[in-house]
Symmetry: D2
Subunit: 278 residues, 4 copies
């Protein structure tokens, strides 16, 4: 019986959800062309198209049917590697424009919130969809993300990014102001990356299941203090605030050292759990 | 058709995999009794049992049928909250004894490796099973973790921990030395937290799909340098080493500041991607 | 002529100020007995006395006439080194009880304030005298430190510590509340390590020379924000706040890594310069 | 008698050493023109000269006879403040070109080495003279710095910088290779900022007094490991390596946070003390 179910599940997932990705590059797939750590390009493989870089162009045709991980030479003879984009690659590419939730922060938000396969999550604001995509990736295949964004001008880009990252099916993007109301009930987590998270705390308290997780990302101390105060007033427990500082290492025998320049601060992450009653 | 598949999937998951957890506490469930940030207790709810703390005891019977998040008073009248344990809670409780892969590192390892629903992952060493549980949590429901541990004495505890965290179905714990050989092929990721990761690099290269991820966690610089050298020799690309430093904030109006004591170092994380050919 | 002046100066300094310390240990001298990094003992060498540790006792008599740096065996045959105490050693030993201005912060306070030989400095609060000693050390031989401490109970200990560190001649400890008034004028720097530095800003502005330095050390963000606001209102320029995080490295071939535990936060240091007029 | 000596000392210092600086700007003085934190200009006040910036020019004539700290308007009506350059200002301006010993590291090197008024110090390499100036500033008025630099092309600039910082009298710059030999004996400290500090350890051991301090600044871990090994072999004690990470805070009510970009790494500082015998 287990086996039968498994086959049904596989079929379901491959047919419908598409997340058991093939290992061979097909037309329409996204590929991450890797030159070096600082120069990677997320491109869509289309027939008859080429991708131009300052190191020459790459015939995307030629990638079709090859395995991910293939090395390919540009017209100038420079080697690129055609990697399969991971969640992190998608997230990084989306972050270029407006957001500062770095992958490291997204990783901690996801892990510490307990979000996983099957979770129902409310998120705001959508922004470019980077955090949204990450949440969608981890709630698959039976969970869902309800993403609030009151700034109309962000929604189109976000939808495009979610599509590209294969996350659209698991997300509802809602053009609503989350500081006014949350429509959903009994959600597992409320995840915020927005200017005034403290205004959302009462709505989050209502929307969350008992024991559910509240997570908020904020660049400034002032936002953190207001949010923590609101959480304590609403009866949340296990309220914690952390900051994650990421250092890159230059690793080479005889020259090993942390890199000279680093991102000194992205933001603080505040976690809390909803307790019932008071 | 989508709908029909969805119902089959739901049934499959609830019946077989059991990961759509109920919101009501049942006998046999694990509960995290929360007193304050530093005092939380992971206990199994059993009829007729009570749990004793220095703040009095708690009748576990009384929790049955209550919602997660319920506040409950100990025999001394001290309030505890009965939280639903998250992955992080399970991981923390497992880490007490032998490992130093802190949840922050586990979060980064998972996120940066691209491991998600459906991934097939080789991991070593199993240790207490903390990292193993995390990987299992995220590869659900169709992925799998092959966890190598050559130290026999760890295996029993690891299996118990995996059971407790609901991860057993997704993990094979293998009593083998991963520096000798990896049995699996075409895996999505190889994740290492062990003393000599550089010895595993050639086997990882063989086991990984093209574009697959290699991730290694090591406390010392010397381990990192050897591993990075081995990766470059084996034709891996996008080799990066990072360190994540986590600071806790004490957040209280008029007293806000980073906490005085902090964990200064757990380890370095090295990532790489497998390129094909050379 | 230069030479004649030099001889006068030498004589002056040796006779009167005593800071050209001899290289030979004499009765009455302080010696730092070094066992290992975590076990050092600051003791006064006196005839007929011995110093007892859990590694046996040391006859202090036997050190008299020896050179600083001498190795000496305890009664249990364990080796200690008799080091000449530096400013840092004195400061560390004073800090054990009430203060959190760590040597790293003292170093930055001194350097960034421009305090050096000849400077006249107002300081508050005296506390155990650790920061006071450091300032006195660097203003020698012609500068002076005016140290305010309104808590009577600290003054006796501070005076003893200053005496022991050879700093007494360069310091006036004043049992006054610096938030009420500063008596001195035309000082080069005002240096604060106290609970309410913002209340001192107007007095500091009056006491400082044009271009003089204001430096304040505070553990919390809230103190920093209030102080920075007061400085800007009083017409100070070049207002900067920094935090210095110090990591210890464990350095041993094959085991090199940052130490596991570290002091995560001591405090923020705020600097400013007095501009004239407005 | 104390008084008489003091007057002689004052006269000596003012006449000969010149370090009791006047509070009034005179022709020939250096002035730090402050526009904002990132735009400061170290200029020499000369009659008939003006200093041009993109915010207009400043007639340097007009500063003569004014007090340090004076606000002055440029030809475009933009306000500058004429600050008295501190050691830190001189050091910062010297660092622009070749060195990475940041003021924070210089502060720690000075403090932890115990260098103060009267110390005799050997230093290498001179570089632009930034660390040299700092050491000279603190050993005044009776100490001395012997600075080794084998690269001829650095010496002219270093001498100019030392002159400008008022440090020349306290420094001998020697065009010699310190890895070959140290000429001085019985020095209080040996301070190194150079590529191969481990080669200097045996010479440092010979040159230092018992209990004297060895300090070395190195960007890479590999340099640190070699140096620490050499120190232990030569019988040094209290060998410690630290790293100082400095974060700038953006402090403004409602917007307070660490700055986004930061210098992630300058170098490691290794300290040791010379023990006699072995």
């Amino acid at each position: 019986m287990r086996l039968r179910n498994f086959i049904i599940l596989q079929t379901f997932l491959e047919d419908t959800v598409g997340f058991v990705l093939s290992q061979t590059i097909s037309e329409g797939d996204s590929v991450l062309l890797y030159l070096d750590r600082k120069r990677t390009y997320l491109v869509k493989v289309e027939k008859g198209k080429s991708f131009h870089t300052h190191k020459g162009f790459i015939q995307l045709d030629e990638l079709i049917g090859k395995e991910y991980g293939t090395r390919t030479a540009s017209s100038m003879g420079v080697e690129f590697v055609a990697l399969k984009p991971t969640l992190r690659d998608h997230v990084f590419k989306m972050l270029r424009r407006t957001q500062i939730t770095y992958p490291k922060d997204i990783a901690l938000i996801v892990m510490f919130s307990g979000v996983g396969p099957g979770s129902r999550v409310v998120e705001a604001g959508t922004g470019t969809g980077a955090l949204t995509s990450a949440l969608a990736f981890y709630v698959k295949p039976t969970g869902h993300v309800y993403s609030y964004e009151f700034r109309k001008e962000f929604i189109e880009t976000a939808l495009k990014n979610l599509e590209r990252a294969g996350a659209s099916e698991y997300v509802d993007v809602k053009n609503k102001d989350v500081t006014q109301e949350i429509d959903e009930e009994d959600v597992d987590a409320v995840v915020l990356d927005m200017a005034t998270p403290w205004l959302v705390v009462p709505h989050a308290c209502k929307a969350l299941k008992g024991s559910g997780a509240f997570v908020s990302f904020s660049p400034t101390i002032d936002q953190v203090v207001k949010t923590v105060e609101a959480l304590k007033e609403s009866g949340f427990v296990d309220v914690q605030t952390i900051e994650c500082i990421m250092r890159r290492m230059q690793t080479e025998r005889g020259k090993t050292r942390p890199e000279t320049l680093m991102t000194g601060h992205t933001g603080y992450i505040t976690f809390a759990r909803k307790a019932l009653g008071e």
